[in-house]
Each structure stands twice: as C-alpha cells, then as structure tokens.
C-alpha cells in the first residue's frame, strides 16, 4: 500500500506554498517525525515532518515548485504502516464488546486481545489525513476541535488555544475557519491582484526595459493585506512631538548598570514598554473592529515591524503590559534575529493587538503606517534628533522624536487616539512613570 503526503496548511491564511527543498530522496526510509521537506509559506519557511512511516516511492512535486495548493499530494510513501488519525479507532472498538459477557465465558475461550489486533486489517489512511506533526502528541485540543479541524483541513499547530492551559477548543477552530483557514474550495483571487487590469506596456513602459522579480509568498501577502487595509479601513493619522532627553538618560542609566552587553535595552524596547503601558491607561485604543462588535483586548500584544530581506514581518511581544523591560528586550532580540532568518512560527507573528513601526534609524522624521488589520492602531516612530524648542520666551535645544498614530476610525476615534498619545507622551517624557 502507498500513502500520499499532502501539502499542509501551515498557517490559517495559507492557501498555497512553495516546495523550497526536499530533504529526502526516492528510496529513503522515513519515520514518523522525520523532517522531509522545507515549505515556504506566505510568511515563513517551515519544516514538514512525516506523520507516516515508509519508503519514499516518489516525489510528486519538484523542488522549487511554487503555488502548490494545500492538500495536493506532494510525495508518496510505500510499504509503511500507516498511522491512523485518532478518531478512526471507534468502529473496531465497537465490534468486539457487542456480545454479552456471559456468552463469552460459556463458549470457546475468547481470542487473546493481541490476536484480535493482528487480525484486523490495518485501517486505510484517511484521504484527508494531514501531514505534519502527529496531532496527538503535545497539542492540547478538545476531541471536537480535533475532529472539526481535521475535516476543515486546518492544522491544529497553526492555532492558538483559548481554553484552559491554552487548550484548543471548538471556538478556536471555528474562528480559524471564519478567517478563511479552512480548505479552500476555489481559492478566490486576492483582491489586491484584481485591480491591475492594465499592463506596464499599455502604460508606456517598453518590455525588456526592466527585470521582473516574481512575487514570493510574502510579497503577495503584503500586497493583498496592505491593499485591503488601506482601501477598506477608514483611517486617520494623529501626530505629536515628544521630548526624549529623559528617556535617553533613563536608558543610559539602565545600561550603565546592565550585567552584560546582552542585557542592554534599546530605545525601541522602551517605546514598546511605554506603548503597552499607555494601552493599559487607555484600553479603548487596544481594540479591534468586528461586525459583531468591538473586541476589547485583555492584554497588549505588541507587534513590532522588522524589515527583513524581501519584505517585512511583525513578530509579537505577547502581553507586553505584564512584562518587564528586560524581558521585552530579550524577547525582541530573539524574535528579530529569528525573523531575519525567516524562522518564526506563525503564532509568533499572527494576532497582535497593536503595532509599532520605527524608521528612526533611517532619519525619517515622520510617517503614517498602514494599519495591520484587525488592530485598531499602529504607531509610526520617527528619528530622535536635536531640535530647537520654545520654552517660555527662550529657544533651547532638546532631543525630540515625532510619532504618528494611525487609527481605525471604526474603533478608535480622534479623542481616544489623542488620549492614548497623551498617555504615551507622558510615559516617554517621564519614563519613571512606567514603573507605576
């Protein structure tokens, strides 16, 4: 018998992926848990582990193949013992105990249990059996969530559980299906792509006068999400100048006392901390619009834009409102490093409640970012620089930075955004208040 290995859905938004690299070849023996390929999704490169055992019979998709739809067979294993999904065991279990116990003792000795298992034909692999990690091992998920996810073609590994101890429950799977994480029947064209009816040539740019760089998964995702956000979300910017001399002094003080160079904090770490603290003071700004109502988030999960080769990604500091500066700093360093290596897991860059984008290092004075849906706000941070400031009747020199808060007007109106900025400005100008 042979088992097909299918293209997995490695994130809720994934519809197709690129088979970046095969790590096995025809004839190799594969065991459950072996990494057999690297798959490039819209956001990251991920490893594909075998669920089943067997010998690689054929590789159905060549290395480098793009746009492989999820659930497409990509390889075939031969001669293995298939591992069945946990739910499929019930028919066999139901067959044996049907006879009354009293008859069992009167008749011939009951067959030893081990024979019964051996006699039963190995269950056929379910057509939709999902490759990837065996979902039974480490993941806490309810039986109902497992079943509904399996039928919708959603990998539990891509979900964040909202039940006790992070257990994945039905509502998490239903939310993923609502987000479009289910097996797509006929993948719709990304809205961003449809608005491009005219070719470059029609616009007077001669063919051959440029090089065409194919769109990878990340570029396509950025194009689609930014188009949707800028077009569909009624947004507006609010800009304020903030003096940062006290912040710089506080940072110098903290770093002078730092135990090692690794424990030094950056201005950006302080901005993350202040943004989270401001969200606690102004919780209305920590919100998302949904058709059912305004979701007011319990914690400040701060997404921080990190530029990487070929695009950008926004790793998240979860519950930044509860974390100390040093924890934020350590996590940010780790996340940024792994982001640049495209090694982030989906749960590390999906689902923030507020974003920060900092272009200060390029000397940008002020800019207004595009909202990262479904977040209600994104903060754009400009360069810190010495500027003349009027104080009373005098002109003095102070360090300033200009920040702009882009708000989703459906959740955050002008007054809420302004109140958040006041809270943020106060925290930056009086950093000791972050201790409160």
């Amino acid at each position: 018998m042979t088992i097909d290995v299918l293209m997995p859905a490695l994130s809720p938004t994934m519809e197709e992926g690129t088979l970046a690299k095969w790590l096995v070849k025809v004839g190799d023996t594969v065991r459950s848990g072996d990494v057999i390929a690297e798959i490039e999704t819209d956001k990251a490169t991920m490893e594909l582990e075998a669920v089943d055992e067997g010998v690689v019979d054929s590789l159905l998709v060549p290395e480098g193949a793009e746009g492989v739809k999820i659930n497409t067979p990509i390889a075939r294993l031969a001669g293995g013992v298939a591992q069945t999904p946990s739910g499929a065991a019930s028919p066999a279990a139901g067959a044996s105990p049907a006879s009354a116990p009293i008859q069992m003792t009167a008749a011939a000795p009951p067959p030893a249990p081990i024979q019964m298992i051996a006699a039963a034909p190995p269950p056929a692999p379910t057509a939709g059996a999902m490759p990837g990690k065996p979902s039974g091992s480490r993941l806490a998920a309810s039986p109902l969530a497992r079943r509904v996810a399996s039928r919708a073609g959603i990998m539990l590994e891509t979900l964040t559980g909202s039940g006790p101890h992070g257990r994945i429950i039905l509502r998490d799977v239903e939310a993923a299906i609502a987000r479009g994480g289910g097996a797509p029947s006929a993948p719709a064209k990304p809205p961003g792509a449809t608005a491009r009816p005219i070719t470059l040539e029609q616009r007077g740019i001669a063919p051959g006068s440029y090089d065409l760089v194919p769109l990878d998964g990340m570029k396509k995702t950025i194009a689609r999400r930014m188009t949707e956000s800028f077009r569909d979300v009624p947004h507006f910017p609010l800009t304020v100048d903030i003096e940062i001399d006290a912040l710089l002094a506080a940072r110098a003080q903290i770093n002078a006392l730092a135990a090692s160079p690794d424990s030094k904090v950056s201005v950006n770490d302080l901005i993350i901390k202040a943004a989270a603290a401001a969200l606690v003071r102004e919780p209305d700004a920590n919100a998302s619009y949904t058709d059912e109502g305004i979701a007011r988030h319990h914690h400040a999960d701060i997404a921080v834009a990190v530029a990487i080769d070929g695009g950008l990604i926004t790793p998240i500091i979860r519950s930044a409102d509860l974390k100390s500066l040093s924890v934020i700093s350590t996590e940010m360093r780790d996340l940024a490093a792994r982001a640049r290596g495209r090694k982030l897991k989906p749960e590390e860059y999906q689902g923030g409640t507020f974003s920060i984008s900092n272009l200060g290092m390029f000397g940008i004075r002020s800019f207004a970012s595009i909202l990262n849906e479904p977040q209600g706000c994104i903060l754009s941070v400009g360069a810190g620089e010495k500027r003349p400031v009027v104080r009373g009747e005098d002109i003095v020199i102070a360090s300033l930075m200009t920040v702009t808060l882009t708000c989703d007007h459906r959740v955050v109106d002008g007054a809420i955004g302004a109140r958040w900025l006041v809270a943020f400005k106060n925290l930056i100008e009086h950093p000791v208040a972050m201790l409160a």
Partner: protein, 470 residues
Amino acid sequence: MSAADSFDLVVIGAGPGGYVAAIRAGQLGLKTAIVEREALGGICLNWGCIPTKALLRSGEMFEALDHLGALGLSVEGRAYDFDSVIQRSRKVAQQLSAGVAFLMKKHKATVIEGSASLEPGSGARGVKIALKAGGERRIAAQNVILATGARARELPSIGLAGDGDRIWTYRDAMVPKAAPKSLLVIGSGAIGIEFASFYRALGAEVTVVEALPRILPQEDEEISAAAQTAFERRGLGFRVGATVKSLTKSKAGVVAQVEVDGKPESLEAERAIVAVGIAANIEGLGVEALGLKLERGHVAVDGHGGTNVPGLYAIGDVAGPPWLAHKAMHEAVHCVEHIAGVAGPRSLSPVPGCTYSTPQVASVGLTEVQAKAQGRKVKVGRFPFRVNGKAIAAGETTGLVKTLFDAETGALLGAHMLGAEVTEMIQGFALAMTLEATEAEIFATIFPHPTLSEVMHEAALAAYDRPLHI
C-alpha cells in the same frame, strides 16, 4: 474615611453568588466586605435549594413506605409529624448559614448586616448601609458586585400574591403550620413541581396549573410529557394550557378561575402556592441615580458581570436567567477573577438544570426543539430505565435518558434525564460538554456496572443506533 472603611471589593448580598464572590476575593487577597440584609446564604440556603431538599427527603421517605411491600417488607403505623418535618428543614438551613459565617471569617471578608445602597454621584465607589442593628455606615469601594438575587414574582391584580395564610409564596410553603389536604400549585417550573411533589408525598390532593401547553416548559418536550405521566401515576393532577383569571379566598380555602381552551373552569383547594417566576431585586440600591442599564427587569451585564457603570458588576439572579444557584456561583468566581485581573478564558460550560421531584428531572444543553431551531442536523438517542439492571434491582424503573448529538460533528448538544438520582448524574454530561467530547469519547468511557448511569452510556450509543441492552 478611615482605612477600615475602604475596600477593594464590596459584595451586596450573601447568597450563593455573593458569598462565593467573597471567598474567591479572599483567596485572591482582595480586601472585601459583604453586606447582607437578612441571613448569610441568601434564599438558596435559607429559603430555597437547601431547606426544600430537606422537606423533599422527608416526603420521599414517607412515600417510599407505600412501596415496601414490593421489596418484601412491611411496616405498621406509619405517620408523619409535620412540625418535626418543618423543624428539621429549618435546622438544616441554620447549620449551613452558620457554615457561611465561618467561611466568611476564614477568608477575612468583613460581614456587614444591613441594607446597602450606592451613594449618588459616587459612581459605584460609595456604599451606604442602613445597619440592621440601627444606625448607618458608609464605606468606600474600588469595585462593587451586586448579588442581590430575586424574589417570587407576584401578580396581585389577579390575586397571584402571597397572603401568608392561604395563598403562599415559596417562602410560606416552607413553614406552614399544617400540611394542607388539598393544594393548587400555580406554575409548573422547578419550584412549583418540587412543592407539588412534596405535598403529594404527604398525601395532599395536588393540582398543578400551567399556562403553557406543557409542564416544566424549560425542559425538552419529551421529558415534559414523560414527567407528567410519571407524576400523574403518583396521583398529581395537572391543568395545562390553563390561564389563571383570578385567585381568591373562599369560605373553605381558595378558588381559582382558570380558562382552558377558551372554557372557564373553577378549581378549589385548601391552599394555593404561587410559583409563576421570579423578579430581580434591584429596588432600594440607588442604581437608578447611577444610570445602571437594565434589560427585561434585570441588570444588563457583559461576559464578566460588568455593567455599564465602571466598577459596578452584577452576578446571579439579579443579572438574569437562568435563576440557578450554581450559575450564580460560577459567575461569582469569574467576575472576581476578572476584577483581580487573573481571569482565565471564560468557560463555555453549559448550565445544568435540576428539579428534585419524584422522579427527578435534570438536563444540560439544548433541547431537541432548540437544536433544530438552530438549523442543526441532530442524532437523537433514548434509553429507558426499565431495562437497566440496577434500576430493576432498586425498583426505580421510571424514566429515560435522551441525548442529542450534532449529526455533522458528533458534538454532544444536550442531554435530558428523568428518573431516580438523575440530578446527581447530569454532571457527567456537563463534563463531557465542557471538555467538548464527541460521541466517540462517550462510547469509549467505561461506565460502572451495575449503575443507573449505564443508561447515560446507552442513550449515547442509541443516538448512533448501537445500544447494547435493548
């Protein structure tokens, strides 16, 4: 105001919602005060859940004497001393109320006896208490939880109001001087049915009047029908689809004018119990001045008990149905954890409902009609007690278990039980639903043999056409 008068949390009402809130707050280190105008434990412990169970126990045991012959036993000279039955029920209530006082002390909650109201203009930060002992005390609160409960709904315009003599509310029905020879029970919800069951057990001629077309209208239709049959076998009478036009005192007792299918009818009895629902206790709390939002007579709350007034929360009966003590306790814990900032994800556990009649009724989740109204395809399983070994041995063969599964996903949508001890068993289905079990996990669970609970297993198997013992 001194520090002694300033609290992180003030709970108004010491019923099952309020005192559990105070316990959880103590565990989480909140400085807590709890204000009670009457008795610790509230209606549940003093005038509801607990003392009625004491009464019902006396009734059940007395009625069981009728069936001793079937067990090969006989007894002579059976009788009851009504006063002792009532006194035992009161002692049980007192014992538990004292237990709550101990729990408050253990968790360092300051108990203030009196009637609380929120001071106008203070948000929910100032609480004034008219002390039971006389005088007044003002305290400051960071947060206030309203856990003031509810009382019997009365409709005085048609005479559906307790007079403490012949027309009783639940409270009068718990402490009468003598057991009535005949009784009208207006309303067939859990409270009405339990009193009907108790007084019938002591030999009263009982007629239950229900305006809706079936008794226990909150239960699954099949259970309502099977329960009515079982009660009728015990000699209870029912008038369903009967609208009460008036209830008045007569020379001998009470007389109710009702209309059944458009035809007037007159029902007479020595006494009547009014059990036509309950009304939230929101009066005298000063909430009007705070602009507290209400919804169909109860306080409007979000998923954490939060109201539209910052810092003001409401739990239990005052925050709306179902009016059940365990719902209040569950909300209490979540609300306090939310206030303390340590709340986990909100539980999606369904609220079971229990009626402690003979036989008992218990249910959790959706009824068949509700499930179908949601557009779900359902698999229905039924299994009777009459073929269950333990039920036959114990002489408890009345009743059935009905299960509802989603035909697409195998999710357990609801379970409905009628029979002996079903109120003790329903938690098995509640646990299965909370854990999001499918039919496969219930099938795979080993139920001990011989027990009544095997009927639960069989009812699940029956939904998939594979019951074993029928």
